[in-house]
Symmetry: C2
Subunit: 441 residues, 2 copies
Amino acid sequence: MAKQKNIGVGVIGFGTIGTGVVRVLRDHAADIEARIGARLKLRRVADLDTKTDRGVRLPAGTLIDDAAALIDDPSVDVVVELIGGIEPARRFMQTAIRAGKSVVTANKALLSRHGLELAAMAEKEGVTLGFEASVGGGIPILRVIREALVGDRHLDVYGIVNGTANYILSQMAEGAGEFSEVLAKAQAMGLAEADPTFDIDGTDSLHKLVVLVAMAFGKKIDPARVHMEGISNISGADIEYAHEFGYTIKLLASARITDAGVEARVHPSMVPDTHLLSKVSGPFNAICLRSRALGTSIYYGQGAGMMPTATAVVADIADAARAMLSGSAAQPAYGRPATSIKSARVLPMKELSHEHYVRLSVADKPGVLAKIAEILGRQGIGIATVAQHERAKRGAVPVVIRTHKAKEGGLEKALARIRKLDSCRAAPNVIRVEEALGEAD
Amino acid sequence: MAKQKNIGVGVIGFGTIGTGVVRVLRDHAADIEARIGARLKLRRVADLDTKTDRGVRLPAGTLIDDAAALIDDPSVDVVVELIGGIEPARRFMQTAIRAGKSVVTANKALLSRHGLELAAMAEKEGVTLGFEASVGGGIPILRVIREALVGDRHLDVYGIVNGTANYILSQMAEGAGEFSEVLAKAQAMGLAEADPTFDIDGTDSLHKLVVLVAMAFGKKIDPARVHMEGISNISGADIEYAHEFGYTIKLLASARITDAGVEARVHPSMVPDTHLLSKVSGPFNAICLRSRALGTSIYYGQGAGMMPTATAVVADIADAARAMLSGSAAQPAYGRPATSIKSARVLPMKELSHEHYVRLSVADKPGVLAKIAEILGRQGIGIATVAQHERAKRGAVPVVIRTHKAKEGGLEKALARIRKLDSCRAAPNVIRVEEALGEAD
């Protein structure tokens, strides 16, 4: 056994997650020491705000307002970046890596843009870069792909990776109100941020998908090329129709590798009620992998929150510590050399084929459905089922169509024509039906 | 980057899993090499049967009938034990470890009895012992506990860890017949072994639970002290009642750490239909962890089968290879020194409290229910619900009672008295109701 050693930790950003990291390091110090053979010592915490009481006590002199001084401190071996955003987070990480320090981060926005560049730098300097906390909070999905499934090839990765959006959809499904009401309640309860844009519009899910694609497929994709839709157009009516057909609406981030490139998309989906993803509710996350040898595997847990996320950060610190203690080379952050991860084409959404749920609001008069069916038919889109069992409201009736598998491009053209019909009273609402998920199990 | 190196692999036991390992090493050689910086080379396969065609081709001279010669072979760095059973598997592993070779195994029967002894030996010799494939097949649950959740403390571990039993219960729930019919069909389809005793009676689940307890809690428990029941007494009627009450019957292995010792048990349970475990069907496995910081996390996938299990074996080989390549000390198999894992008391089942489903067959005459309620009441057992809505058959009616939380010992005494009643027509069937699982989420 290695004799007692200390690994110095510096945390930049003393917000929710930073506070959680301080607590985990304090509460579980002995457990961690027993497991890795060294004590993780919190040396410095840097935050511009050194006044607010975070409910945890730090030894005098630990909390400073100067991140550069923290990075410079020779007693700090591992720098934890928890301030979020692109700059100055990126610059802090670069400085730390160049100073030969290992870096741990939860910053998915930064990683989705500069993750591979930072990983290449860390590999060049022989330090560890860890970012388990960036995807799925406390769910160790990145580590599982990188280490546990090293002998397999991954074909699909998809799941629920934003807890705020999932909480809102879950509450709507339980009848708590329409989107804007539920969002307001979630904000009042602190379950959604004051500016929830990235959670609601899919951006946060997309950032995480980019990280997952690099880890699972060894491919770099341009987030700007990925089709993204948020949940703000989902109505209580959609949720009810979904329920009636045996589905639950979830915001999914999905990617598949093909010979032609990477299929990647973020949008609300109808998940069959037989699939485990349909049962993931509230702030929980779940990520599914489909792999050549293993088949489908699913990883479920709290995707956000102080303590779950802090756990993932501390596991990465422990990894960096293990590499330092063993004197061995740090493992590459993406499980293979970052320079070997090349750009891949993102397949245009319009070339992909899906089954669709389309909700229309049309005039309650004869011939309308025939006209719509004709327009869809001209794009080669077959109708699987039609539901129209509500009474007319102000002369308009909701018509819900479920299509057979059809090209997105064709549907788009058909919907543009349908919108121009005199009998069409509102913009059609489209949700993809993920029927194939059920088959994957 | 390390320059091209080879790590020699020897596989003892050329059965289903052995064949899968040979296939994964062959099919994913380049991927694995890209990730770990070395080629895993299959040097020797040892099996007493060198004639049967396993559908994979080995280079001439690779397949031998002498395990000792394989272990002795200087080109073999990692020995994979896949013959199962206690001896000679244990002796082969000891010999390999003493010869300074890393060892990988899927042998849960051996691990449940001698895992800590083998781990201590491996730590002393500085070699890697890997056994991810022993629990949950391809689900990387042991690695997750050991590495990903290193900064957390685990409170509960429970789940579905036997795919054969789960397949049978799932088929019964789908109306495929009673236990013995479904078992016979599963055997005919190769989904249950010719001698399925260990899968059906809970032994296999118990072996895995012992490994999980050591990994999650750092405690050694005596399997002989763990309450174990199999699934052969579950009837279609039980499954229907469960469904009616909103539950699904699953064979669960569960453990909880308390100040007084470890609660550990293997038996059929009624799982609320709102819990993800209720949706785990067919041969799939799922393991739930409840941890102090992370809360509940769940790991789902194929718990058996050639390729999933082989994936876990190969991940362990890759781990051993990484340790050899980095020249660093092997990580301890249980995530902490094996000698630090001490025996813990298994709390006697009769001291534990659960909610119970009790199915009785009683004479269809007045006063019987009052008598039963009185006997239960004397043991302090409250009745939550009673169901009795079938017609009498040959003078006996089924009565289904759901109790409030009550001591197992008290229920046992009450049932012994109830069995002696003239009006009791068959042995009562008891299934624990895992109501608290729903709350864990």
